[in-house]
């Protein structure tokens, strides 16, 4: 069997740190090859070497049997290697169509021939069932949509070797299923796929073989069919992982957050994105809002926290009306928010870790005196968070957050929010894009909050998370709550039906 990619003995050094240490990675033609590893294991670094973003210190790359030197992404593109990045590289004020054809525009005497491009894009969209609106602006579409654009972009450029960097992190169960189908379809057509992931279920389902990295070192390549999930996770983490979340049985107490008849409209749609939503979160429970991305759950949370204005309705927190209160006031009152988009909302990327650790608390007497920041106190606090929540970064509290890995950025946010000892945590996709270790950790932290009698409102797109972590599930569909379910009494399949809008609980029947 011939190899389309052979990366032999790749070593990549940053400073004194070996990001990749003698890693060998070979992909056969027409296979889905999973690349498994925790955050920081070197998966993305390896792919960046392949994609020409980095040059390796040692090792060689052979593509389709020919030794090559890849100096930049253009070289990679010329070798028909395409990549969907974890953090999308899209131009925000371009339309979907413009984004897809960017770099490969068909022109006639210097004038764009968009019609041809549009036809090709729409054909691809049809064929792979990647529904898009070619004229929507990137900044207006959801993260899930943006990913579709990235995939289409890769397909548009006729790539033969497709690299998916954690593609399912942002997708709904249905979308993931679709993606799996698409990947199988692509492989059938002779394309080869590198699938970077740390979700074992998906790897099990779609991949033929799997290469495992740990801390920059090559651990092994296994046949997925003959290896169990447990074996793979042990290879990945280096220890046994507990997949089950341990929760004490506790009874939910009184309501702490009450949302009454909330309506939110946005500029872009005539329909209400959040339509007459009422629910309450009680002390000592993890209430999960499940739904397919783009059904209003993001707006619902933004509305509650105050990041976007609400049109109608009332929000009570600890029995007090906070509908009109400022974001600052809500935060002081004890409402914590782990935001969906950690780069946009959660962090100031060019600040360092310690500055980010006091983002909502810098004005408290603990950290300031007459308007002057107590830098020593801030530093000590950051050190405490680093230790307590095991946040790893190149230069500890002085690391610029931009240079930290996604998992550790997320840990920093979680640490900051939970350490404020809030009464309720609104956690929106808190484990998005995180590896098993970090996910396990964050789930544990949420459960600790709950066990302490605090409330957690969790928004999740991942069925496993919804089923395992939550005490109660509200399903949101097109801006409306369509079901109030008990995870112990419902199957994943049933939940999927609610999420897809084909089923409603009696009390939420449309009238």
């Amino acid at each position: 069997m011939e190899y389309v990619i052979e990366m032999n003995n790749i070593t990549k050094i940053f400073g004194n740190f070996k990001a990749l240490d003698d890693v060998t990675f070979k992909v056969k033609k027409g296979e889905v090859h999973a690349l498994l590893g925790e955050n920081g294991a070197g998966k993305s670094t390896l792919m960046s070497v392949l994609f020409g973003l980095y040059q390796a210190e040692k090792g060689n790359i052979i593509i389709n049997g020919k030794p090559v030197k890849i100096n930049n992404p253009n070289d990679a593109n010329n070798l028909n290697i395409g990549m969907v990045h974890q953090h999308f590289k899209l131009v925000h004020n371009f339309t979907v169509l413009e984004s897809i054809i960017l770099g490969r525009e068909t022109v006639n005497m210097g004038i764009l021939k968009k019609d041809d491009a549009r036809k090709k894009v729409m054909d691809l969209s049809e064929r792979y069932k990647l529904k898009i609106n070619p004229d929507a602006y990137i900044s207006d579409i959801t993260v899930g949509m943006q990913q579709r654009v990235e995939i289409l972009k890769m397909l548009y450029s006729d790539s033969d070797i497709l690299i998916f960097d954690e593609p399912t992190a942002v997708l709904t169960p249905q979308e993931i299923e679709e993606l799996m189908k698409i990947m199988k379809e692509l492989v059938k057509e002779g394309k080869s796929i590198v699938f970077i992931s740390h979700k074992l279920n998906e790897i099990k389902e779609v991949a033929d073989r799997c290469t495992i990295l740990r801390k920059g070192k090559y651990i092994g390549t296994v046949n997925v069919d003959t290896t169990t999930k447990e074996q793979m996770s042990e290879m990945m983490v280096g220890r046994k992982i507990n997949f089950n979340i341990e929760k004490k049985d506790i009874k939910a107490g009184e309501a702490i957050l009450q949302v009454k008849n909330l309506v939110i409209k946005t500029k872009n749609s005539k329909k209400n994105v959040v339509n007459d939503v009422s629910f309450e979160v009680r002390k000592g429970e993890i209430l999960c809002i499940a739904g397919i991305d783009g059904n209003g759950q993001s707006e619902l949370i933004y509305g509650i926290t105050g990041l976007i204005p609400i049109n109608e309705g009332q929000i009570l927190f600890n029995g007090k009306d906070i509908t009109k209160e400022s974001i600052r006031k809500k935060s002081i009152d004890g409402l914590a928010h782990i935001p969906e988009d950690r780069h946009k909302h959660g962090l100031i990327l060019d600040f360092d870790l310690k500055e980010n650790s006091v983002l909502q608390t810098y004005f408290e007497p603990k950290f300031q005196n007459k308007g002057f920041i107590k830098f020593n106190a801030v530093r000590e606090y950051a050190k405490k968070l680093i230790k307590q929540y095991d946040i790893r970064s190149p230069k500890n509290e002085d690391s610029v957050v931009r240079n930290m890995s996604g998992g550790n950025q997320q840990k920093l946010i979680v640490a900051r929010e939970l350490d404020r000892n809030p009464d309720i945590v609104l956690a929106v996709q808190p484990t998005r894009g995180l590896d098993i270790g970090a996910t396990e950790y964050i789930h544990k932290q949420l459960v600790v909050q709950r066990d302490q009698g605090k409330a957690v409102l969790l928004v999740s797109l991942e069925l496993d998370e919804v089923m395992d972590v939550s005490d109660r599930i509200l399903v949101i569909y097109e801006g409306e709550i369509v079901g109030d379910l008990n995870p112990k009494e419902i199957t994943v399949k049933e939940l999927g039906l609610y999420m897809a809008g084909s089923k409603r609980s009696d009390e939420y029947e449309k009238n």
Partner: protein, 402 residues
């Protein structure tokens, strides 16, 4: 300890890259001199380099006199820049400040003479602040780009001042303002004797104070923290409950006050400078942009770059001896700024020279210069993988900023 060491070296490489930009600028200056008059080019070039050092203490005094207004406008632009705003309206704020200072200096005879100059300066600051607040308010409430509004405010300010001068404190013979009262002229505090020129006064002390205050605001206070947070990431600042509208407005108000103060300091210096009724925008406002860029928007950097550009300007005056036009200095400064845009490139070259064999993460060398490899070695460096993706964007972003 470790941190301060890092900072020093970080600043050092920035400083070196600025030096390289300056060298490039001077080289171009030399070429221009050679083209326009090759015979006298070398002595003229030496004169430029000598600049303020030509005349002993007096020359240095002259440098200080030139530096005061452009350090203030530089501070204004740099401060706004640190908070994510491009204050191109320093010129208008400067003119308004200058006018109000002169007006108070002439008309407010009821003020006790001991504090007359101080009142005039405060008036200048308020005038500048008001002029800066306009673009700030529009940006905060209607999201109107501050670049456009502040350019417009430059013209409005200039014409309004011209109009008001004619109506109030006009010396029609010379088409300029009348001289201010003696009590409104800044005290010399012995500095005139020290520098052997009457142009130096306590203005330089006020400038140093302003530099210190801005530095403290930006680096040490919660207010500065809020301003910088809003400047870098408005959305995250909102998330954190920071009032971003307030931050934008206050930042423009402070920037305006700094420019206005600069205007006051120049026209109350008693150097025989008057505000002329001309349809020309005050060049000090635009020099401020150069000063801020060369000083990398850092208050101390701005102070030094302001002195440096003033030093060149003095040299520019002196080369008229050789029949060269002083505009050559403007060209040199322009080239320096232009090369300053490549500061990042220079910086990377510097790092390459300083740190010999070790390969550096691109992101690290861009954001913070990692000079102490033991730090990373001692801790487990968990993730270089996600860094990669941001690096490119970061690089282009920073280039664009410059």
């Amino acid at each position: 300890m470790r941190r301060t060491k890092l900072l020093q070296v970080e600043g050092f490489t920035s400083f070196l890259s600025s030096l390289m930009a300056i060298a490039a600028g001077l080289l171009v200056g030399l070429i221009i001199l050679l083209i326009s008059n090759s015979k006298d080019a070398i002595p003229a070039f030496v004169t430029i380099l000598k600049g303020g050092f030509e005349d002993g203490a007096k020359g240095i005094g002259q440098v200080i006199y030139f530096a005061i207004p452009i350090i203030m406008t530089g501070l204004s632009v740099g401060f706004a820049f640190k908070t994510g705003l491009f204050n191109i309206g320093a010129s208008g704020q400067f003119t308004c400040g200058a006018f109000v200072a002169i007006y108070i200096g002439i008309k407010w005879t009821f003020v006790p003479p001991e504090i007359h100059w101080l009142v005039a300066l405060i008036g200048a600051m308020i005038a500048g602040a008001v002029w800066g607040s306009g673009p700030g308010l529009l940006k905060a409430f209607f999201n109107v780009n501050e670049v456009i509004t502040s350019i417009m405010m430059n013209y409005i300010g200039m014409y309004l001042v011209n109009m008001t001068i004619v109506k109030t404190v006009y010396d029609s013979l010379k088409n300029q303002t009348k001289p201010v009262l003696k009590s409104a002229i800044l005290p010399k505090a012995g500095l005139d004797k020290l520098f052997n020129t009457s142009n130096v006064n306590i203005g330089i002390i006020i400038v140093i104070l302003a530099v210190a205050i801005i530095y403290i605001i930006l680096q040490k206070t919660t207010f500065g923290y809020e301003l910088k947070a809003c400047g870098i990431n408005k959305e995250a600042s909102r998330y954190a409950g920071i009032n971003e509208k307030k931050s934008i407005i206050l930042s423009m108000v402070i920037a305006g006050a700094l420019s206005g103060l600069g205007g006051g300091l120049l026209y109350l210096s008693g150097s025989g400078k008057y505000l002329h009724v001309l349809d020309v925008l005050a060049p000090e406002g635009f020099s401020g942009i150069s000063v801020a860029l060369l000083g990398m928007s850092h208050p101390i950097g701005i102070f030094l770059s302001g002195l440096f550009i003033a030093h060149l300007e003095v040299g520019g005056f002196n080369i008229q001896l050789y029949n060269f036009v002083p505009e050559i200095i403007d060209m040199i400064v322009a080239v320096i700024i232009y090369c300053g845009a490549f500061a990042l490139l220079f910086k990377q070259i510097m790092i390459g020279i300083i740190r010999k064999p070790v390969v550096e993460i691109a992101a690290d060398s861009l954001n913070t210069v990692q000079t102490n490899p033991q730090i990373t070695a001692s801790t487990e460096y968990p993730a270089a993988d996600e860094v990669i993706i941001d690096t490119e964007e970061n690089e282009t972003e920073q280039r664009e900023e410059l």
